[in-house]
């Protein structure tokens, strides 16, 4: 079965996120009040051919550990849905 997996790779909290800061500033300047804790990372979407959603998730988890996220600076979150 084909499973669509959404991955969010986010800079680890505690690390400075200049891009998030820049966006927070820009939003304030555009007149959006009350925005805090902006963090910017990568959204990666992929379709995986696997026996089950769980299997797809496990496989993508391993992709994240090996390639998609940098263990030194990033955390990742997965969501999978049948495609």
């Amino acid at each position: 079965m084909n499973v669509r997996v959404h991955v969010r790779v986010i800079p680890r909290s505690g690390l400075l996120d200049p891009q998030g800061q820049a966006i927070a500033h820009a939003l304030a300047a555009l007149g959006f009040p009350g925005v805090a804790d902006v963090r910017v990372g990568k959204a990666i979407e992929l379709t995986v051919d696997a026996v089950s959603t769980a299997a797809a998730e496990a496989s993508v988890r391993s992709m994240c550990e090996r390639l998609l996220a940098n263990p030194v600076t990033e955390d990742f979150i997965l969501e999978a849905e049948p495609a």
Binding site: P11, G14, L15, L16, P18, Q19, A22, K42, L67, L68, N70, V72, T73
Partner: protein, 233 residues
Amino acid sequence: MTRVAVVRFPGSNCETESLLAVTRAGGHATLVDYRDTDLGQSDAVILPGGFSYGDYLRSGAIARFAPVMTAVKTLADAGGAVIGICNGFQILCEAHLLPGALQHNAQQRFAARPVDVRIERTDSVCTTDYEPGEVIRIPIAHGEGRYVADEATLDALERDNKVLLRYVTVPGTDMPYNPNGSMRDIAGICNSTGTVVGFMPHPERLAEQELGSDAGQRFFTSLMRRVASGVAA
């Protein structure tokens, strides 16, 4: 003669000037393809600057898996000289041959300009020909050069004398002296023996008087001397 391999990944850009800098310093330089699985009889390897695999995902993230990297690790483990310049530094960090990571410049823009860096350690494979504390001006050209690591790692780098180059301010400059927001102004680091080194600036680009300065050439003469004296290989 000292034999230096310069690796070309798909998207490498600075292999030609790296080869020339080695040749000019009296070494024997050969180009090695990323698909090769050995480095010939090389005493040293340079991972040059550029945009391996387009720098897609994260710079260095894909290149670290290239077949040639196994040989690079073997050389590093054997105490051979491994030098990562710019993209090469990024690859060494991604491959965990050096600690930390290089992230997008704090100002979110590519930075191409000269920087003033201080040589913090003169017993590494490529800095013996500099004076301790000497400040030189060489170019940078990168979008992802902000060195980050957790506090413990940073403290360990300082304690173990593994900071190789640091951005410093020189009177009269009207540019931020730290060009990318690197933590502790780090421009380059090395392992404890000084044989695996990585840095963001490009000494190979400013290594002959015809281009206005040869400030970077001693990286390569140092390498020749160190490797020839057998300390590194």
